[in-house]
């Protein structure tokens, strides 16, 4: 697969953001906020960083992605459909009866989903298991795990953080979507989790802090993670919840609220602007 560069990645992200908004508005429920904040990271993973084969989802040599913050699955569905893991028409059936696209990821129903998630705090432990298996198999398969900042409040995350460091899982990369919001408000007000990078460092991790919407920084952090041996790496990515749609950015309610059809048109207009500027097309 061709690896996209920073500019192409930002166009791809704008396209994926449109899909996320369309499918959640169409479903009338789902989680736009945390999907939009993590779009740039997940797009960089799937279109540049990870080894994987959309036409052979279970290919043995693949890298694996664990979406620990499972509610952000509209993002993952948009990416998997765009890459051809399943037909794009499925996106219109999100959350409907008998659909392969469940409200939270289901590994038994959707090609490309490595593990069922949705109950927060469990993904990093699963990623550790995959990373240990990869080492046992002497495979060069790497494991990527995306967590929410609110999700870090789950104790299991820190149990897992100890395991990753204890077993020197340098084939594991955890990424924290540091968008500062959870459901009941700002993370800082509900139950503070900072300093995040320092906490992971104290647990024996290699910690990197970046702007999670800057592709140059994302790409260089991925490279640094690969250079680090004998330690797991965490990227603490500063992001904006609902990134890309000016009128809902940082608005807490849009964690789990969808756009109306008028709002959707307005949002698509804003995102089209990004697509066109980046590709230099006429509007």
């Amino acid at each position: 697969m061709e690896k996209l560069g920073a500019e192409q990645l930002s166009v791809k992200s704008a396209e994926m953001r449109k899909e996320i908004l369309k499918m959640t508005t169409c479903a009338g429920s789902g989680h736009p906020g945390g999907s939009l904040s993590a779009t740039d990271i997940v797009v960089a993973l799937y279109y540049r960083e990870m080894k994987h084969k959309p036409d052979n989802p279970l290919w043995g040599g693949r890298d694996k992605f664990v979406l620990s913050k499972g509610h952000a699955c509209p993002l993952l569905y948009a990416v998997l459909a765009d890459l051809g893991y399943f037909p794009k028409e499925e996106l219109g059936k999100l959350r409907t009866l008998n659909s392969m696209l469940q409200g939270h990821p289901s590994s038994t129903k959707t090609p490309g989903i490595e593990i069922s998630t949705g109950s927060l705090g469990q993904g990093l432990s699963v990623a550790n298991g995959m990373a240990l298996a990869s080492k046992l198999d002497k495979s060069d398969s790497r494991i990527y795990c995306l967590l929410g900042d609110g999700e870090l409040q789950e104790g299991q995350v820190w149990e897992a953080a100890m395991t990753s460091a204890h077993y020197k899982l340098d084939n594991l990369l955890a990424i924290v979507d540091f968008n500062r919001l959870q459901i009941d408000g700002f993370v800082e007000d509900v139950m503070g989790v900072e300093p995040i990078a320092d906490k992971f460092s104290a647990f024996g991790w290699n910690s990197i802090e970046i702007d999670g919407h800057d592709f140059e920084e994302i790409i260089s952090a991925f490279a640094k993670a690969k250079e680090c041996t004998d330690k797991p790496t965490v990227i603490v990515a500063k992001t904006t919840k609902c990134k890309g749609v000016s009128f809902i950015e940082n608005v807490c309610d849009y964690h789990g609220k969808t756009l109306t059809s008028e709002e959707l048109q307005k949002a698509i207009g804003e995102l089209d602007l990004v697509c066109n500027i980046e590709t230099g097309e006429e509007r």
């Binding site: 999100l94 009866l97 469940q102 409200g103 289901s106 998630t117 459901i183 009941d184």
Partner: protein, 316 residues
């Protein structure tokens, strides 16, 4: 039109009333206060509300500590996380220590709808039933929920309250008073008994109307307390009607149906049909479509009643 309110909404309103009545009431939540409606208490009594964040196990331990110090604690989150994520903490810190913590699990059952299987608790009644001393309650409407919450202030046992996200019809009048451990006959009948819990009570009542058209008179029993089970009302129903149907938005394994079968198989073997989710996970879809697909409708209850009746006749 019949009035509708979600039991979680009534829970929030009742918490605010409880807070007024009793200064020892303390409420905890785990980043879902707007969904469980514990936010109604938070608004009135911010000093007695603690958001523990997305840390359900920690919330249960904190509740145990508060209860051990004399506080009347309610801890709420979605039912899957309230009792699934936290089973060992509930077992050891709360039940084994016999602390009167009140756990509220909202968004129980297929009624949760579009969020899908990961968020639809279908085994919470079963889990809580296994714990010695634990009272398990699933109110049928908003009125019953309020009465139950206010009466729970006097309990010495731990309590699990199962709540629903969906708006459902109000069944009981303002004067209704809930009693722990007591079922109640909502409609009398002598041909078959339908024992329902939670949001299935209104569907059981609809089923009764359907059955009447076919000349079958069903006794409808509301079983809002699943543990301790009202044995007398079940045994009486078995003796007098001879055929029993149970109805719950929960797995048929270990819930109301399980409890009724355990009792009857020891004390009065009878013809029983269980309406519930048949040992499978749920999925994403609007609740009504799920009820249809998984057989949790008035029609399904009515046909279960007819087959229970048919088997009773064979047994005679």
């Amino acid at each position: 039109m019949t009035e509708e309110i979600a039991t979680r909404e009534a829970y929030g309103e009742a918490l605010a009333l409880a807070g007024e009545k009793d200064n020892d009431v303390v409420v905890l939540d785990a980043d879902l206060s707007k969904s469980t409606k514990s936010v109604s208490f938070q608004k009135k009594f911010p000093d007695r509300f603690f958001n523990i964040g997305i840390a359900e196990q920690d919330m249960i331990g904190t509740a145990a500590g508060l209860a051990a110090s004399g506080k009347k604690v309610f801890a709420s989150t979605f039912a899957v996380f309230a009792v699934g994520r936290t089973f060992d903490q509930i077992r050891n810190s709360i039940a084994y220590s016999m602390l009167p913590v009140k756990l509220a699990g909202s968004h129980a059952g297929l009624a949760t709808g579009e969020d899908g299987a990961s968020h639809q608790a279908l085994e919470d009644i079963a889990l809580m039933r296994t714990l010695p001393g634990m009272i398990v309650a699933c109110p049928a409407d908003g009125v019953e929920t309020k009465s139950l919450v206010l009466k729970s202030l006097e309990l010495e046992n731990p309590l699990y309250i199962r709540l629903c996200r969906l708006k459902t019809p109000v069944i009981f009048g303002d004067k209704y008073s809930f009693e722990f451990g007591k079922g109640s006959v909502v409609e009398d009948g002598a041909d078959v008994s339908i024992i329902a819990t939670g949001i299935m009570l209104s569907k059981a009542m609809e089923a009764s109307t359907l059955l009447k058209k076919e000349g079958i008179n069903a006794r409808i029993i509301n079983m809002a307390t699943i543990k301790p089970l009202d044995e007398d009302i079940v045994l009486k129903a078995a003796s007098e009607t001879g055929a029993i149907v149970t109805a719950e938005d929960h797995s048929i394994v270990g819930g109301l149906g399980g409890a009724v079968c355990e009792l009857l198989s020891e004390k009065k073997p009878s013809s029983v049909k269980r309406v519930g989710v048949r040992d499978r996970f749920g999925e994403s879809a609007p609740p009504e479509q799920l009820f249809e697909k998984y057989g949790l409708t008035a029609t399904a209850i009515a046909s279960a009643a007819k087959s229970a009746l048919a088997e009773k006749d064979v047994q005679k």
